[in-house]
Every structure is written in C-alpha cells, then in structure tokens.
C-alpha cells in the first residue's frame, strides 16, 4: 500500500524533473526559433540553448537570423549570447537581465541555405541605397556644370553680340550703297571716251569748223564735269553718314562690353549645387546610415513591447502591478563584441547597451547604446533613446574617422566632371529626434587631394587649365549637412566651403576665359568693322581715283574748252588771242601748236610791218613796197597787234 502511493508520485516527480532538466532547453530553443522567425520572417538557426535555474540564466550558442530580403545572407549572427536574469524579478514574472553579453556578433554574413521560410514569390532585391535623394543630388550635381557650359557657350556666341549685328548691318548697307556709286562712276567712262573722240574729230577741218566742233565738245564736257561734280558731291556727302554709322557701331561695341561685364558678374556657379554634386551622395549615405541607427534604436521598443507581451488568450488580465510597478522586461547591461561592416570593411567593435525596456516611462531611465569600433575606420557612437516622457527623444552622437581615401565625383565623365579624393576623413554627427521630427547636423572634415576638373572638347582647354590651377589651392574640405523635418522625409541642406571655393575657381577660370573671349570678341568686332570700313574706303577711293585718272585729261580739256567757249560767247576775244588761247591749251597737239604759232607769228609780222611777206609780194605784181595804211584797206581792218586794243575797239565786233 505504501509503495502503491509512492511510486506514482515518484514517477510524476521524475517526469517533471526530466522535463525540467531535459525538456525545457529544447522547448526554449523551439520557442526562441519560432519567436525570432515570427519577428524576422526568415529562418532562425540556434545551434544550442542551455538554461540554468540558479541563478536563472540562458545561454544561446550559434544563433543566426537569416535576412528576409537577401537570399543566402544572415541579417545578424553571433557565437554566444548569455543573459543572466534577476531572480527576484523573475519570481514576479519580470525579466530583468542583470548582465549579458553577445560575443562574435557579425552582420550580413553568408549562410548555407537561402534562409527563407517559404518562397511563394520572387522578391525583388531591395535597393540598399536611398534612391530618390541620391538621384536628386546627382542630378543637381550634373546640372550645374551643364548650365554653366550652356552659359559659357551662349556668352561665346558672336551672334549674341550687338556689335556683330550692327556691323553686319552697316556693312550690308554700305556695300549696297557703294555698288550704286561704282555703277554711277562706271557710266562716266563711255561718256569720257566719246568726249575724247569728239575732241579728236574737232581738230579736223578749218579753224571755224574746229571752233564749232569745240563748242559742241565744250557743251558735252560741261555736262560731264557737272555730273562728275555731282558725283563728287554725293561721295563727299556720305562721309557724315558713314561717320554716324561708325559711331553706332562703336556704341554697340561699348554696350557689348557692358553686357559681357554684367553677364560675367552673374555667371557664377552655384556653390550649393557644387557641394551637393561633390559631396551629396557621400554625405547622404553617411547620413542615411546614421538615421538608420537612430531609427533602429528608436523602433526597437515597438518590437520589444510586442514580444514581451504574451499572446493574449481569452479572458481579461487584471493589472495588479500598482503596488510595485516595474517593466516586464529590462536589459540593464548587455555587452556586445564582434565585427561590423563600415564602408564594406569588417572592423571589430565593442558596444554596451543599457536600460533597454519595453516600458521606458515605468523604468524612468533612457536607453543608451555606446559603440566603439576599431580598425582603419574608428567609430565612436552614442545613441540615447529617452522615452521616459510622452514624446520620445533620441539623440545620437557619432565620431567617425576614415583613414582610407574616398573618391568623389561631380558631373558626368563624358562631359564636364569634377573629381577629388578625400583623405583623413572625420565625420561628426549630432542628431536629435523628437517624436518624428529630426534636427541635427553631420559635419565632415577632411583633406582634399587630387581635385581635378576635366571636360570634353566643348569646353576650351584654357578653361580646364585655369580651373585646375584655381583648384590646386584647395587643401581641405569642410562640409555640414543640416537635417530637419521628419525622419521619413528629412529636409537636407548641405553647406560646404568647397562649393564656394570650387565655384570661385570655376568663376575665375571662366571669367578669365570670358575676359579673353571678350577681348577677342571685341577685337574681332573692331577688326571686322575696321576691315569693312577700310574695304569700303578703299573701294570708294580706288574707284574714285581711277575715274579721276581715266578722265583727268578729258575733264581738263573740257574745262579749257568750257573756258574758251565762255570767252567766245563774251565776244571780247580777238582772233589772235583766240588762236593763242587755243594754241596754249591742251586741246591741240604740240605739232599743231607749233604750226599755229608760226602762222600767227607771220600774221603778226605782216600786220606790224604793214607789208606783205616778200614771197607773197613777189607773187603779187603792182604791189611793191609796203602798202599804205589807208582807210578801208586790210591793214586798217586788222587790229593793231602788239598794242593793247582800245576800249572802243574792244566793243566793236
């Protein structure tokens, strides 16, 4: 009877002991796997789980949480997790981790399988980089150089200069005008030839006939001379107009100079865009990384709260915690060691996590995570999450150094591109997240090396050379990213002195080039205008000179004939004077002039001696000696040669 009582009870006790000794750990392991799989949505592997009751503790070896978004990758993996619970709190159903440590913590590691619970549909690989703002910043970066190129091209386009437009107009105007003048000048040539021919014809025949011919020629010559005079007057009359046009051209030139100067003042690259183009992506990635940390720390509470709360069954749970309120879960101290990836480099780190709880208000202390990473990229970070008030406040302080070089690039390689290398990079960030509103800044301090500006053939090599010369003085790079707005849609403003310096350098380069281009353009315009003016002048002068040369003799003869005819018309010219004037003129040839002179001398001798020449006197009988100067004789009819005619005789026809 005694054994029949004891044995069943012993068996029950033995089963319970067996369960506690051998069954709890597998059960906890199963629970842990199921719990983490429900959280991550991917496979969770736990190599071993052991627990102790005195003191209450749990140790997990070889745990790997697969990434739901990256096939074949573990989100996080660690070698050992040890948590020691507080007995007093555990007896009251509170999980207070007095101390704990995670060793061999690694992120984003490989795993043998894909790590997915079920592959119902292909999931697109998530873009790790923040797309929209990176693209936006990159676009902004590409724009500034493109716009500048267009501005430069516009400035270097001669068609935009007023000088060219006015000069072209003036040239076209006077080109047409001088064409008309040349045509007019050419019309003189046949007339002059005809006049010359008439002069030649006028020499034939007797003297009276010649005189008649000369009169006709003189009239024609007078017309030619008058037309030539009119042509000369017209030619002289255009000089003021030409001067006026040249003045307009000069004024246009001055306006162009002012315009170029004014445009140069406006032609400055946007320093903000340059900074964004050069640093935007790098800074944003760093900022995004920082924000991810902040978000991770901040959002842990929601997941933690969900996990701490047991699955509610039916019924109602009454809260009797008022006597000694305390959070259901508190992680007082957890040390983490392992490796983490910073800029794709695995670096060892140590971290300390304190006061993690699902109810910070009840705990009354903020959660603090301190992290220190070694290696070539030492990182010190401290994140404080204070949810002890209604509005949670998250503050993050980070100091990150990177001794490796960071290449930067702005613009497109096939166009204008600005490249540089950052060295000894130092990042400092301070972000404060109040609720969903974020405010803070990320400061970058680094040494700038190999800043190089390159461009395709659209940009003149002188610009590239001057820009690089200006950039050679840049040795340091400081940048500040101001963050405000909300966590999901932060407003990011990037300020950097490098943008201003690059902008100044680019401006200097382009300004220098524009000054040179301006001077060249002005010179070209002036040369252009001068060439046209000279061409016009030469053309006019050549035509005018040639016309004068070709018709010089003709015009002179015409002038003389005109003078002669004027004397004839006046009637105060005796035959001797007429013949003498004709003889002295260039109307007749030298040979003819000599004949005329000889004839006139003989006539004068006869008239002076009042006797006929001996050869004639011999041929005329009955007329010996000198004829008396009787009235009515030939002598009396002739005027007294050698003596000035009396006033009365001048008036006689």
């Amino acid at each position: 009877m005694r054994w029949t009582y004891i044995i069943p009870r012993l068996i029950i006790v033995g089963l319970l002991w067996g369960f506690l000794a051998l069954g709890v750990d597998p059960l906890l392991r199963y629970s842990a796997v199921q719990t983490f799989q429900s959280i991550t949505g991917a496979k969770v592997d736990v190599a071993d789980l052991t627990s102790t009751y005195f003191p209450p503790s749990i140790t997990i070896h070889g745990m790997a949480l697969a990434s739901p978004s990256h096939l074949g990758r573990n989100m996080v993996e660690f070698d050992e997790l040890h948590l020691r619970f507080e007995s007093h709190s555990l007896s009251r159903r509170r999980f207070v981790v007095e101390d704990g440590h995670v060793d061999g913590l690694r992120f984003d590691t490989r795993r043998s399988d894909d790590g997915q619970l079920e592959l119902s549909e292909e999931t697109e690989p998530r873009d790790t980089e923040p797309s929209w703002i990176t693209e936006k910043l990159t676009e902004l970066g590409d724009e500034w150089l493109s716009n500048l190129e267009e501005q430069i091209k516009a400035q270097l386009d001669p068609n935009t200069l007023e000088t060219y437009r006015v000069g072209t107009g003036v040239y076209d105007k006077w080109d047409a005008h001088f064409d008309v003048l040349v045509e007019r000048a050419k019309t003189f040539e046949p007339r002059a030839k005809a006049l010359k021919q008439n002069f030649a014809n006028a020499k034939k025949g007797d003297t009276l006939h010649q005189i008649e011919q000369y009169l006709t020629v003189a009239q024609e010559a007078e017309l030619i001379v008058r037309d030539a005079q009119t042509f000369r007057d017209d030619l002289t009359g255009i000089v003021p107009e030409v001067r006026n046009d040249f003045q307009l051209l000069n004024e246009a030139r001055l306006r162009d100079q002012e315009k170029v100067k004014h445009t140069l003042a406006l032609l400055k690259p946007d320093a903000r865009r340059i900074s964004q183009a050069l640093l935007g992506e790098t800074m944003y990635l760093r900022l995004q990384e920082t924000l991810s940390w902040v978000e991770l720390i901040r959002d842990y509470q929601h997941g933690l709260h969900d996990q701490i709360q047991p699955p509610r069954g039916s019924g109602q749970d009454f809260d009797f915690w008022a006597a000694n309120p305390a959070p259901g879960f508190v992680l007082r101290n957890l040390r983490l060691t392992g490796t983490m990836s910073i800029n794709r480099e695995s670096v060892p780190f140590q971290a300390l996590l304190t006061d993690v709880t699902e109810d910070p208000m009840l705990l009354g202390r903020p959660c603090v995570m301190s992290l220190t990473a070694d290696g070539s990229r030492p990182l010190q970070m401290k994140v404080t999450y204070d949810a002890t008030t209604e509005t949670s406040v998250t503050e993050m302080l980070a100091d990150f150094r990177d001794t490796n070089t960071i290449p930067l690039r702005a613009g497109k390689l096939d166009k204008a591109c600005l490249r540089a290398v950052l060295n000894n990079v130092s990042w400092q960030s301070r972000l404060v997240l109040v609720g969903n509103k974020i405010e803070g800044r990320l400061v970058l301090d680094s040494r700038l090396e190999q800043l190089e500006f390159s461009a395709n053939e659209d940009v003149r090599p002188e610009i590239v050379a001057v820009a690089n010369e200006a950039f050679a003085n840049l040795a340091s790079l400081n940048a500040i990213v101001q963050v405000s707005g909300t966590l999901r849609e932060p407003s990011i403003e990037l300020h950097s002195d490098v943008g201003e310096q690059v902008a100044s350098g680019v401006k200097v380069a382009f300004t220098h080039q524009l000054e040179a281009a301006k001077a060249k353009l002005i010179a070209e315009v002036s040369q252009y205008a001068d060439e046209h003016i000279e061409t016009l002048k030469n053309r006019f002068a050549a035509d005018y000179t040639r016309l004068l040369q070709d018709n010089k003799e003709l015009i002179q003869q015409a002038s003389e004939v005109r003078t002669l005819m004027a004397n004839l018309r006046s009637g105060n010219l005796d035959p001797a004077s007429l013949m003498k004037q004709v003889s002295n003129s260039s109307l007749i040839k030298e040979k003819d002039r000599e004949k005329i002179d000889q004839t006139m001398d003989k006539v004068s001798g006869v008239l002076r001696s009042a006797a006929l020449p001996s050869d004639i006197e011999k041929k005329i009988p009955g007329l010996p000696g000198i004829l008396p100067s009787t009235p009515g004789s030939l002598k009396s009819l002739l005027p007294r040669l050698g003596n000035p005619p009396s006033q009365d005789s001048k008036n006689k026809p």
């Binding site: 029950i12 007896s91 009251r92």
Partner: protein, 171 residues
C-alpha cells in the same frame, strides 16, 4: 525483466486497482478542476502536483482532466464572468495586489479572469462532483475492476499472484 515489470505492475495497481469509490470520486472531482483550469501556468502545475500527492485515483483524475480540458473551452465565457466578478471586486484588490507581489504568484496567472473563474468553479465543483459520483463508483467499481482484470495487459503485468488475489477479493 522483473525489475521492469514490477514497477509497472505496481503503477497499474496504484492507478486502477487499489482504489476505493471515494478515492475515485475525489479523483474525478479534482480531475474536473484540473481539466477546466487553463494550462500553461504555474497554477495548473501546482494543482497537478497537489492532486498527484493526494490519495486519489489518478487514472480517473487524468481521464477527467483530459476530457474537461477539451470541454472547458465551451465554458470560458462563464468562467470569465466569474473571474471578472471576483478580480474586479474593489475590496479584494489589495489582496490581489499582495498576492501578485508574492514571489512566484504572478506565474500562476491568477489575474486572468478565466484562470481565476475556472479555478474557483473547479473548487466549487469538487464537493458536488464527489458526492454525485461516489454512488456511481460504488456501484460500478467492482465491475470495473473485474473488467480491467480481464485485459491482457493486466494479466501480463499482474501475473498469477495478483490474479489469485483478485479472486480472493471477489470471493
């Protein structure tokens, strides 16, 4: 072989053979209570231990607990009302807070209305179930023993010695 069969024989004897009608009726009443109380908390475990420590028919207790575990879900609304009534009493709040602040007590999940309601109902049902089931067990226990004795497993485990003893009892 003897060492293996002997404990099993004694276990079977303890479970089904050597029981009085009162032990069986109490076992049924306690099994009902254990069955209607939600599992997965310290209260159910403690109840199981306590019941196992009593001199009751554990077989009947286990059968009743298993049966009521599946059936009690239909009665959760009733248990909930009872639990809310009891736990919601302002005069008892101090008591509940003190109990809750007692080590290990929160693990009993007594602050749940269904747990509390079902536990109280189970306590309340012990005496009625015992009283009602005892005459039944008195009437049918001998028949049940005889029936069980004819099981092949019983014959194997108990052997001839125990068979003779059963015969003596019958006589």
């Amino acid at each position: 072989m003897f060492l293996i069969l002997r404990p099993l024989r004694m276990l079977l004897k303890a479970l089904v053979i050597e029981s009085t009608p009162s032990q069986m009726s109490y076992g049924l009443a306690l099994g009902v209570m254990l069955g209607i109380v939600p599992k997965g908390n310290l209260l159910a475990i403690v109840l199981g231990f306590c019941i196992a420590a009593m001199r009751v028919n554990l077989a009947v207790t286990a059968c009743a607990a298993v049966a009521l575990t599946f059936a009690s879900s239909q009665l959760d609304s009733s248990f909930d009302r009872v639990g809310v009534f009891v736990l919601g009493q302002p005069s008892l709040r101090g008591l509940w807070e003190a109990v809750y602040d007692t080590p290990m007590m929160p693990w009993t999940n007594f602050n749940n209305s269904i747990v509390m309601g079902s536990f109280l109902c189970g306590l309340a049902l012990i005496w009625p179930v015992h009283r009602l089931s005892r005459p039944v067990f008195q009437k049918y226990s001998e028949k049940l023993s005889r029936h069980i004795r004819h099981w092949w497993i019983t014959k194997v485990l108990l052997g001839a010695e125990w068979a003779d003893r059963f015969s003596t009892l019958d006589a």
